[in-house]
């Protein structure tokens, strides 16, 4: 298997974008192609979850290839729920690693704000089990709320811990001009003041408004190349060192212990094994904080903290910029936004930015190894990637 490098990265602002879906994808892709210095690619993978349903568009990869005049490159769309982005990176990785392709464009894109918030919530809920979850009205906020309640009872996590994640990540987004939320929040304003319950009402108890990521539009893209091509292009040598993916039961109730995110644990273990590293080697991480509780749980499952102690590390500031293991320094899903199909690619964009040393005010000093965790379903399809800067 050949080594695979990220030669180019691109992203759009994550917000409500009043452009066609293809244009959003094209914009991010053009930035990545320009960053890499390439004008031709062998293959395009487009990660997207909702185009057929909410944008009334299918065959998205073909449209992107034509929009960018990249014909006759191969093109395919990848739909893997909220883990579509990292799944597309994995496909691109396999294409280059196998020797089949030299240059692969991986683009994640979503335009969710085309529909109202109720339709968007329903669209995401279609990833739940159709017979045992969806038909009973289970949504992702409801899933996360039940998960959070169990976590609180079992490990002593409190609403304050959840709010601390929200404050950390939303305020981190202030250092990322591409992030959706550009609004500072404080614990006092969302938790302690007499107005806190109005400012930050329960969405699905115990989760409140600021515990959830925003519904966003946006695109992100990577250019993956072989080592030979990477050296020719002369861009910083960022190698994808580990790729792990795992699945879990579709219906959450079938899990022996619902607070264990086994697919996260297994995907991370596979990525570490492939990279020949452990969690202690990670300098910066992008975890899938669609809800604040997930960052805490995932930080344990990927091995940064013992099970049930993620919130203790959070309390000590170990997950903040400057801490032992900075998590979501670009805002995460909570602050950057969560255009579902684009998220996994945007996580990789952030890690590559960090490993290049281009993070500006949010730069993790000396970052050399990074990790992304893209969480699909309610933990039933997870992709973990590790990246390393080779000097």
């Amino acid at each position: 298997m050949r080594d695979v490098y990220v030669a180019g990265i691109g992203i759009t602002t994550f917000t409500r974008l009043e452009y066609p879906l293809t244009e959003i994808a094209a914009y991010a892709s053009m930035m990545a192609l320009r960053d890499a210095g390439v004008t031709e690619v062998d293959q395009i993978y487009v990660a997207n979850m909702g185009a057929p349903r909410i944008n009334h568009q299918t065959a998205l990869a073909s449209a992107v290839a034509d929009s960018l005049s990249l014909l006759p490159a191969g093109a395919a769309a990848i739909e893997n729920g909220p883990a579509s982005g990292a799944a597309a990176i994995k496909a691109g990785f396999q294409a280059v690693a196998s020797g089949m392709d030299e240059v692969v464009l991986v683009t994640g894109v979503e335009r969710m704000r085309e529909v109202n918030n109720l339709e968007a919530t329903d669209f995401v809920a279609t990833l739940t089990h159709p017979l045992t979850e969806y038909i009973y009205g289970v949504t992702l906020p409801a899933h996360a709320a039940m998960f959070a309640r169990l976590y609180m009872e079992k490990y002593g996590v409190t609403e304050r811990h959840l709010a601390m994640v929200g404050v950390k990540n939303q305020n981190a987004a202030l250092n990322n001009k591409w992030a959706h939320l550009q609004q500072k929040i404080t614990l006092e304003g969302i938790l302690d003041s007499p107005e806190a319950m109005t400012n930050n009402p329960y969405v699905a108890e115990p989760l409140r408004f600021f515990d959830a990521c925003p519904v966003s539009d946006g695109g992100a893209a990577l250019v993956l190349v072989s080592e030979e091509k990477a050296r020719e292009l002369g861009r910083p040598m960022i190698r994808i060192s580990g790729v792990g993916q795992a699945t879990d039961t579709h219906a959450v109730f079938e899990r022996e212990e619902p607070t264990d995110l086994l697919a996260v644990r297994r995907a991370a273990a596979a990525a570490y094994e492939m990279a020949g590293i452990g969690p202690e080697d990670i300098d910066v991480a992008e975890l899938h904080d669609a809800f604040t509780i997930l960052e805490i749980a995932e930080s344990e499952e990927v091995g940064f903290f013992p099970k049930g102690e993620g919130h203790l590390g959070l309390e000590k500031g170990e997950t903040a910029l400057g801490g032992k293991i900075p998590i979501n320094v670009g805002g995460g899903l909570k602050g950057r936004g969560h255009p579902v199909g684009a998220t996994g690619v945007a996580q990789a964009w952030e890690i590559v930015t960090q490993l290049r040393g281009d993070g500006g005010k949010r730069q993790v000093e000396g970052a050399r190894i990074g990790l992304t965790l893209n969480f699909g379903g309610f933990g039933n399809n997870v992709v973990c990637l590790t990246f390393v800067r080779e000097d």
């Binding site: 990265i9 691109g10 992203i11 602002t13 009043e18 452009y19 066609p20 879906l21 293809t22 244009e23 094209a26 914009y27 053009m30 930035m31 960053d35 944008n55 568009q57 449209a63 034509d66 929009s67 960018l68 335009r111 085309e114 109202n116 990322n176 001009k177 591409w178 939320l181 550009q182 609004q183 500072k184 929040i185 404080t186 006092e188 304003g189 969302i190 003041s193 007499p194 107005e195 806190a196 319950m197 109005t198 400012n199 930050n200 009402p201 600021f210 964009w349 930015t353 281009d358 993070g359 500006g360 949010r362």
Partner: protein, 252 residues
């Protein structure tokens, strides 16, 4: 015989009790002051409303145009029994809400124009003006309409407003909804917040000068983008144009 037309054209405002200022903490940890603005301060508001007339997003253009006309009408004595509340953060204008008294028992909500978003400032302003109608002016109900989907969610859904569809609202003649005293009392504990009195230093800062909003809503980059997005899913010819328009936006 000379006729003073102004005496005919100028409405006579009824006595309306003043709104007692209050303040509350936002999610950002900042204090926002809600206070009544009278005729002499209206020009200070107009200059901050005018730019929003050109924002074709979330009906800011429609709402700002109407607010501008209402404030101007109030300033130049062509609007009867109107009141205006301003929301300020450190003196900076964050929202304007206004309404008017129709009869001693009936109020009418005009507009809620938020100039800073993401902190429920508009929602706090709407709650304040309903408080003014029901608690201060003693109205039994307030007629309300929404021009944007955001307003519909905030007013009609969150307050569970009653239909008054047989009563055309003064804003465009559209069917009215009503906030009754009973509905307001039901929503009070959840949606109506604020502390009184306002600490002197915070109130002084607000009264000293109405500062311009530092991060007001801005027009979309391409005014036709929303329309195009419906009819041009391929965008083949437009990517280069977008590239040119946004070329200043490099990644971090």
């Amino acid at each position: 015989m000379s006729v003073d037309l102004e005496k005919i054209l100028r409405p006579i405002d009824h006595e309306m009790a003043p709104y007692e200022p209050k303040y509350m903490m936002l999610a950002s940890g900042e204090a926002v002051v809600v206070r009544q603005v009278f005729r002499d301060e209206i020009p200070d508001l107009l200059k901050h409303v005018e730019p929003l007339v050109h924002v074709e997003r979330d009906y800011y253009d429609v709402v700002a145009s109407r607010v501008y006309a209402e404030l101007l009408g109030y300033y130049r004595h062509r609007f009867q029994d109107q009141y205006v509340l301003a929301l300020q953060v450190d003196g900076e204008l964050a929202a304007i809400v206004n309404g008017r008294q129709v009869t001693p028992k009936l109020g009418l909500s005009l507009h809620t124009l938020a100039m800073r978003r993401g902190l429920r400032i508009g929602a706090h302003g709407f709650a304040a003006k309903m408080e003014y109608h029901i608690d201060t002016l003693g109205h039994d109900e307030v007629l309300v309409v929404a021009e944007s989907p955001i307003g519909f969610r905030r007013w009609m859904l969150e307050y569970k407003l009653e239909k008054r569809f047989d009563t055309p609202h003064e804003l465009g003649g559209v069917p009215s909804w009503a906030l009754t005293r009973e509905l307001f009392n039901a929503a009070r504990s959840k949606l109506v917040v604020g502390r009184r009195p306002v600490p002197a230093d915070i109130l002084e800062k607000a009264m000293e000068k109405i500062l311009p909003p530092s991060d007001p809503p801005t027009p979309p980059l391409d005014p036709l983008a929303a329309t195009r997005s419906l009819y041009d899913p391929t965008a083949t010819a437009l990517v280069q144009q977008r590239w040119e328009m946004e070329k200043g936006m490099e990644h971090a």
